[in-house]
């Protein structure tokens, strides 16, 4: 049986290269250790996408298992975390097709905001929650390929070159998709402003 090693609680990202090569040789225990490096960050991104703690956990879990199954396909040309996020976006796309994420619960809304914002007034907090929900709704309404680019650019903070490597297309294609996505997001935003006024 493979087990989780508690001593590996604080593995640093830079130490993960060695783990990764062991994982690619089929070492399942090394994969569990690698998960400890990335699962918190992955769950954070999953929470942003799903806006539901339980769905986010399922999504992160599915992503890690899918990553293990296709670990040999990771070619090291993009960051491992970017690769994980690409897998997660594909799983999320399926999730969106199956079922729209449920409306935000109070706890989830709060958990999506940084504790540093706790000092903000209730009105400001409310505004931030509404803004976050609206931004995610707009992302959900983008075609998958456009959502993927926007997400990797703004949430995973990849450069356009890194995105091209992760997605497997040219930088020119990334630029085209990003432009179309921004145009679509801009229109959605304009529509909202129009409605508010």
């Amino acid at each position: 049986m493979f087990s989780l090693n508690p001593a590996l609680n604080a593995i640093k990202l830079e130490d993960s290269t060695d783990l990764l090569s062991r994982v690619q040789q089929g070492d399942a225990e090394a994969f569990c250790d690698l998960c400890r490096v990335y699962d918190g960050r992955l769950l954070r991104q999953a929470m942003a996408l799903c806006q539901d703690a339980s769905l986010a956990e399922d999504l992160a879990q599915e992503t890690l298992i899918a990553a293990w199954k296709s670990i040999r396909r990771y070619n090291g040309r993009c960051r491992f975390f970017t690769w994980l996020c690409s897998i997660m976006l594909h799983r999320y796309r399926k999730l969106l097709r199956r079922k729209r994420p449920a409306a935000l619960t109070k706890e989830t809304e709060d958990s999506l905001l940084n504790v540093a914002d706790a000092a903000a007034s209730p009105a400001t907090l409310n505004e931030m929650k509404e803004q976050a929900a609206f931004l995610q709704k707009c992302l959900d309404n983008l075609p998958h390929k456009q959502r993927q680019i926007v997400y990797l650019r703004f949430y995973v903070e990849n450069s356009l070159e890194e995105i091209a490597l992760a997605v497997g297309c040219s930088v020119g294609t990334v630029k085209s998709r990003l432009f179309k996505a921004l145009e679509n997001l801009r229109k959605m935003r304009a529509l909202k402003t129009l409605n508010v006024e």
Binding site: F2, L4, F31, C35, D39, L43, Q61, K187
Partner: protein, 172 residues
């Protein structure tokens, strides 16, 4: 205005990529419309970046790690099962593909009239709005927009608001 169109992509990408496109400076200095567009795109990018930065740090719960570990253990201890499953799935996929090709071929034989391809409403601004949405286009009012936004919020109606919104904005 037409001249501005060629600048839009470069403006948007320079804002999203935080890169400096020196060739834009001249045009932005003299064109208020493009300056407004640049500001709009900057605000949009900033909104997503701010949201991303505000996401709290999360420690993955032990149950997530346990679930992943057991799934991997299971997969590793029953490789034969996965191999057979994969073979079975590959067989099923091949059969499904064959069926699909046959059905398509059969339809082609029966109905020679080509089917109009579905176009992307999200990106193709020239797409004619379907008749069912014409009502929105012809009679936009605050109430109708509100109604559309309500539908947008509800499950399953995600594309409609977009069609409505795009049609409205294009008609301006």
């Amino acid at each position: 205005m037409n001249a501005c169109r060629k600048f839009r992509k470069r403006i948007a990408l320079s804002r999203a990529d935080e890169s400096n496109d020196a060739t834009l400076v001249g045009h932005l200095t003299e064109c208020a419309a493009c300056r407004a567009y640049a500001a709009e795109i900057s605000a949009l990018c900033d909104a997503h970046k701010t949201r991303a930065a505000a996401l709290p740090e999360i420690d993955a719960p032990a149950r997530l790690r346990q679930k992943v570990a057991s799934a991997i253990n299971e997969a590793s201890s029953t490789p034969w099962l996965y191999a057979s499953l994969r073979k079975a799935l590959a067989g099923a996929a091949a059969a499904a593909l064959a069926l699909l090709i046959f059905t398509f071929w059969n339809k082609q034989q029966q109905a020679p009239t080509p089917v109009e391809p579905a176009s992307s409403v999200l990106t193709d601004n020239t797409t004619e709005i379907k008749p069912s949405y014409a009502a929105y286009r012809n009679a936009f009012s605050a109430d109708e927009l509100e109604m559309a936004l309500d539908r947008y919020s509800s499950a399953g109606a995600d594309d409609e608001i977009y069609r409505v919104g795009t049609a409205f904005l294009n008609s301006q």
